[in-house]
């Protein structure tokens, strides 16, 4: 896989992820209407510290009716971004998508879905910077930046867990699975009632996350592919246990970069 191909893959996957996110926002339209939860008339008070022109800009884009139109327009931008035959310059599309994604995150007070919103923004920002140079001149460093962000995310998640004694004993996993905040399948709840199983699963998660950066030390495609498949299974598990579907596609979008930086 060459760098241009890796960028193309990332573009398609992150485009798909953005499409899903935007459709989800449109399906939740009533929650950010003026009779809903995230009312712009309330949320805008968060931005009192910004200079007047910025406040006016946010007020324009993020009020209810304009925001919905804005989301529909975003779908068009993403559609054009994914397809290679576009009449709009690709660089312009990338920046428009970055701008719109950033504004959407501000509409929900910084982020709607935490980590997945952050990784989405980082990947798009990287693609925007890549689009500035002709002939994929910046592709290689950009692919490395995306790879490092991806491995850092896994590694940091593993690091905070291994530092906590309740994660090391498996207790934290039991608390998560049985907390009133999540509704995993009953079979998972019952299985993790067994302390030794919770201990094993907990350590598997910690070891998987901590070992992820070592993918960058590998050059054999079979090893890298195995690790990426493990990553996919890890995210699928998070989808079905915790409903984290956005994480699945956003993190998948970083995998072509990881593959390029290792197997190349």
């Amino acid at each position: 896989m060459n760098s241009a191909m890796a960028i193309q893959f990332i573009q398609s996957i992150i485009g798909g992820a953005l499409l899903i996110q935007t459709i989800e926002y449109l399906l939740l339209q009533s929650s950010f209407s003026e009779k809903g939860i995230w009312r712009w008339s309330t949320i805008r008070n968060d931005f009192y510290y910004l200079q007047k022109p910025f406040q006016q800009g946010l007020n324009f884009f993020l009020q209810e009716t304009i925001f919905v139109t804005f989301l529909w327009m975003k779908i068009i931008f993403i559609g054009l971004f994914i397809t290679t035959f576009s009449f709009v310059p690709h660089m312009l599309l990338s920046w428009l998508i970055l701008f719109s994604t950033f504004l959407v995150s501000q509409r929900f007070r910084g982020s709607f879905n935490g980590g997945s919103d952050y990784m989405t923004l980082i990947v798009i920002l990287a693609l925007c910077i890549e689009s500035l140079a002709p002939d994929h001149l910046l592709a290689r460093p950009i692919l490395w930046i995306i790879s490092l962000q991806s491995v850092t995310s896994y590694f940091m998640a593993g690091l905070v867990k291994i530092k906590r004694s309740d994660w090391r004993t498996g207790e934290a996993l039991v608390v998560f699975i049985h907390s009133p905040n999540y509704a995993p399948p009953l079979i998972i709840k019952n299985l993790l009632k067994h302390k030794y199983l919770a201990f094993i699963v907990s350590w598997l998660i910690i070891l998987f996350e901590l070992s992820f950066p070592f993918i960058l030390f590998q050059h054999k495609s079979i090893f890298v592919l195995c690790w990426l498949i493990l990553g996919l299974l890890f995210h699928l598990n998070n989808v079905f246990n915790f409903g984290l579907n956005r994480f699945l596609f956003v993190w998948l979008s970083t995998y072509p970069a990881l593959y390029y930086c290792t197997v190349r």
Binding site: S105, V160, S179, P180, N181, A183, P213, N245
Partner: protein, 172 residues
């Protein structure tokens, strides 16, 4: 061989070192505006249960029982593709954590004006939004943030209350 990997080893080492340092929270609002570009990636670092939002309504002087406003939705197989309700729930969950964080940081004076904060107002909206979905006749509603424990699939007991709202008119 090791020389080739030196930058990577250094990078991992730096992550470990930085993870051991406790950095102060960024106070600068403008920098906070761009915080989405600087994530900490500390997922699931707390094992404590997040409290839940309980709501009840009042109609003709009669108060209903407390009920969990937003129970976690069950995940179906197709939710890996599209899961608006699941993501709405996760956003709600993060909101409650933010509310508790802001409540913890409040001093005495700030606690008195807590109801004026955007986070509190948004919590009122969360409660009202649900009450309107559940009962068209309700005149008033009340909410509280509590730690609960499920006795069975439907019934729960309140372990402790963290915040209780006054009775609020449903019509704004």
């Amino acid at each position: 061989m090791i020389g080739n990997f030196f930058p990577l080893i250094l990078y991992i080492g730096l992550i470990i070192v930085f993870s051991l340092i406790k950095f102060p929270a960024i106070e600068n609002k403008t920098l906070n505006f761009f915080k989405a570009f600087f994530p900490s990636w500390k997922f699931f670092d707390e094992s404590v249960n997040t409290p839940v939002l309980l709501i009840r309504t009042q109609n003709n002087e009669t108060l209903s029982d407390w009920q969990v406003a937003y129970p976690p939705p069950k995940t179906k197989w197709f939710h890996f593709l599209l899961n608006p309700q699941g993501n709405f729930y996760l956003a709600f969950h993060s909101h409650i954590q933010q509310l508790l964080g802001e409540l913890t940081l409040c001093d005495e004076d700030e606690t008195k004006s807590f109801h004026k904060l955007v986070t509190y107002k948004t919590t009122v909206n969360f409660a009202r939004f649900k009450v309107l979905q559940l009962s068209a006749e309700a005149e008033y509603f009340q909410f509280k943030i509590s730690n609960i424990e499920y006795i069975d699939n439907f019934n729960f007991q309140v372990l402790d209350d963290i915040l209780i709202s006054p009775l609020t008119e449903i019509n704004e």
